[in-house]
């Protein structure tokens, strides 16, 4: 039995017994007390009439003295009936109302609703542990890609936030502690459609516990973990966690990309960013002096990248132990290490802000970062500014600060996981680009800007498998030759090309970067496309529908219906006979 129904029934025992007792005594009294009919004869109500009378009296409907006017003795009993039965109703109603308000009951209702919505899911889903900034961002993107999610968070406000979000389909949320194995199982870990567990709480130890639970109970379920500390990350990797995402490592890698080539940075931003938002401006890094405010997890990684690219650096941090450790680890390094916050003019001037080319505001305090940026820009307007944004609510402030690169850990984790889940080929593609020469990257970015409009493109992977693209698969298995240029023709007007660029084609682990339009596709190829928002839809029409494919390849359509095929077969037969 449903626990909610069970609770209601158990709690309603006493009120219902009270009502039944009051009714039965009242009916019995009405039957026993003699009355008088319209002829003055002694008349007793029978059970049928007594039940009728008590029912409308006790429920305060009150039709009157039916069928004959009551005697005084009957009226006295009716009076008693009214008071006791009204008390009985009130008791029952107040019991129900107070029951609904108890936290236990509310919890039972929420859990029962969650269980119901989980049983309604008929598509594969991801179990997302933690609905903070990263979780919200991730769920929002996944839902837009029509991927089901189930959320578990131990914070009541987070789950309430989820309830009021206006997603295009319902995302079940459970308020429970994801580090408890039984709760994680309850939230859908053991559900046959659970496609993966994503641990993105703000605590590394919680994420570790979730990963251990998932891997021990369901070793085949993929697990993606957020981790901000290297030791936790290594721990997670040690038991086959499928992916760990460290926002600082990811950003340091992106920063290294940007240092190598500004086009590569643009490529990364355009392809992994939110589609249909405005394009980022290109940034040029010139040789020179950099100021690094904050030598924590982010600062240390960026310092390494800067030194690898032969820039001189001045570090500013408040903690003296970090300086001592820095000099111990880097003996003979002539880097200046200033103790201070980097928000005041004196420190920044000492660090050489006037002649510097770049500033990295990388502390874990947003006010300090913003203050450092504003002060530095007063003395050097040409600075390239990299800002670390810690809180989501400060987004507008950082945008207004005109920082060139904004590093927001939550956003970086969400973006990385989103790409891993929806488009893993894109990560491979960017890694391949990193290995290419700067000229190649510049050519790529100019081809890309030609193919897309003024906003960031959509990226997707098309698989030329039997289920992924039935029409193309069938045509290929019949021996037809199909080139990429056919797929890129508009299914509405084949003379026009779709605003779309194939970035990479993968065939048996072999990667072909930027395949040209005459490239012949084979069955089971995977193609990474990027293009405007309608392009995905247009290409998928071609992949799925034989008629569209025939149209873009300028071929005649064969009839599909039985009659059509019969008639066509007959005419062919006749022609052959005439020959």
């Amino acid at each position: 039995m449903n626990p909610v129904t069970s609770i209601i029934l158990r709690q309603m025992r006493a009120p219902l017994i009270v009502i039944v007792t009051v009714f039965s005594i009242a009916i019995l009294g009405m039957v026993l007390i003699p009355g008088v009919d319209d002829q003055g004869q002694v008349w007793r109500m029978d059970f049928f009439h007594a039940l009728y009378f008590v029912s409308f009296t006790a429920t305060t409907i009150g039709f009157g003295e039916i069928p004959y006017p009551l005697t005084d003795a009957q009226r006295l009993w009716a009076l008693i009936t009214i008071f006791f039965s009204v008390f009985g109703w009130f008791y029952a109603i107040s019991k129900i109302v107070s029951l609904i308000q108890t936290p236990l009951f509310k919890k039972a209702v929420i859990h029962s609703n969650f269980k119901h919505s989980l049983s309604q899911i008929n598509k594969k889903f991801y179990l997302i542990c933690g609905y903070g900034e990263t979780g919200q961002d991730l769920v929002n993107r996944l839902v837009k890609k029509a991927i089901n999610c189930v959320v578990i968070d131990n914070n009541q406000h987070a789950i309430e936030e989820l309830e009021v979000q206006d997603y295009i389909f319902y995302v079940p949320g459970l308020e429970a502690d994801a580090t408890t194995p039984s709760q994680l199982e309850y939230a859908g870990l053991s559900h046959p459609l659970c496609k993966g567990v994503i641990a993105i709480t703000n605590s590394d130890s919680c994420n570790l516990k979730i990963a251990i639970t998932a891997k021990l109970l369901h070793p085949e379920t993929p697990v993606i973990c957020r981790s901000e500390h290297t030791d936790f990350e290594e721990n997670m990797r040690s038991f086959n966690t499928d992916h760990t995402v460290n926002p600082y490592d990811t950003f340091a890698h992106n920063f290294a990309m940007a240092m190598k080539s500004s086009s590569l940075h643009l490529l990364n931003e355009w392809l992994t960013g939110v589609p249909d938002t405005s394009l980022d401006r290109p940034i040029t890094f010139s040789e020179g002096h950099w100021i690094l405010c904050g030598y924590g997890r982010l600062g240390q990684r960026i310092y390494k990248t800067l030194r690898e690219n032969h820039h001189s650096v001045t570090i500013i941090d408040t903690v003296a132990e970090l300086r001592d450790e820095f000099y111990r680890n880097n003996p003979g390094d002539d880097t200046q290490f200033i103790i201070g916050t980097g928000t005041d003019v004196a420190t920044l001037k000492q660090a050489g802000v006037v002649d510097a080319v770049g500033l990295i505001a990388g502390s874990n305090n947003d006010s300090n970062n913003l203050s450092a940026i504003m002060t530095a820009q007063m003395y050097n307007a040409d600075l390239v500014v990299v800002a670390r944004q810690n809180e989501m609510m400060n987004k507008q402030l950082f945008q207004a600060s005109l920082a060139d690169i904004i590093m927001h850990p939550s956003e970086i984790v969400a973006r990385r996981i989103r790409t891993l889940l929806t488009n893993p080929l894109l990560i491979d593609f960017l890694e391949e680009c990193y290995k290419q020469s700067n000229e190649w990257i510049n050519i790529t970015i100019s081809r890309l800007s030609g193919a897309i409009s003024e906003v960031k493109p959509h990226c997707w992977t098309s698989r030329l498998t039997k289920t992924g693209s039935p029409a193309v698969f069938e045509a290929l298995s019949k021996g037809r030759k199909i080139a990429l240029k056919h797929l890129l023709k508009s299914p509405i007007q084949r003379q026009e090309m779709i605003y779309c660029l194939p970035l990479m084609l993968v065939r048996n682990n072999q990667k072909f970067l930027l395949p040209n339009n005459d490239f012949a596709v084979h069955a089971d190829d995977q193609i990474l496309f990027c293009g405007i928002s309608q392009a995905e839809h247009h290409i998928s029409q071609c992949l799925h529908d034989m008629h569209t494919l025939n149209y873009v390849m300028s071929l005649k359509n064969s009839p599909d219906s039985l009659l059509g095929r019969y008639l066509r077969g007959n005419t062919k037969q006749k022609r052959r006979n005439n020959d």
Binding site: L9, L16, I17, V20, L28, V31, F47, F48
Partner: protein, 127 residues
């Protein structure tokens, strides 16, 4: 001794005994079957049903089911009686009385099953 168990068993056994008392006698003869007794059986049966609400065990579900069966039988007997005495010109005939009594006989059977289950449960707990 558990007072709740005493009350629970009291109502279930009382339902059976009253029900049997009404049922016992010549099937056709209205003099053998007291209307007040039927009324008491219905009330006690209702209370016994309510006492069984919300028990999530298998045995609890069985007990609730037997009580509901007894209620359906008894209430239909009462409805037959009311219809016969108020809406039929002939009133409560011998044939109607036989219907009423046989309906209550079904309820006796359901109540016997109820009590057997109760005895089984208590003997099971002894071990």
């Amino acid at each position: 001794m558990n007072l709740e168990k005493v009350i629970f068993s009291f109502f279930m056994i009382l339902a059976l005994t009253l029900n049997f008392g009404f049922f016992y006698g010549d099937v056709h003869n209205p003099d053998h079957h007291n209307i007040y007794e039927l009324y008491a059986v219905i009330v006690i049966n209702l209370i016994a049903t309510i006492l069984k609400f919300g028990d999530r065990s298998q045995l609890g579900a069985m007990l609730l089911a037997t009580s509901l069966v007894a209620n359906v039988q008894l209430i239909s007997a009462a409805v037959v009686w009311a219809v016969a005495s108020h809406m039929q010109a002939a009133g409560v005939t011998e044939a109607t009385m036989a219907t009423i009594v046989s309906l209550s006989g079904g309820a006796v059977l359901a109540n016997i099953i109820s009590v057997i289950l109760l005895v089984l449960e208590s003997s099971y707990l002894r071990h």
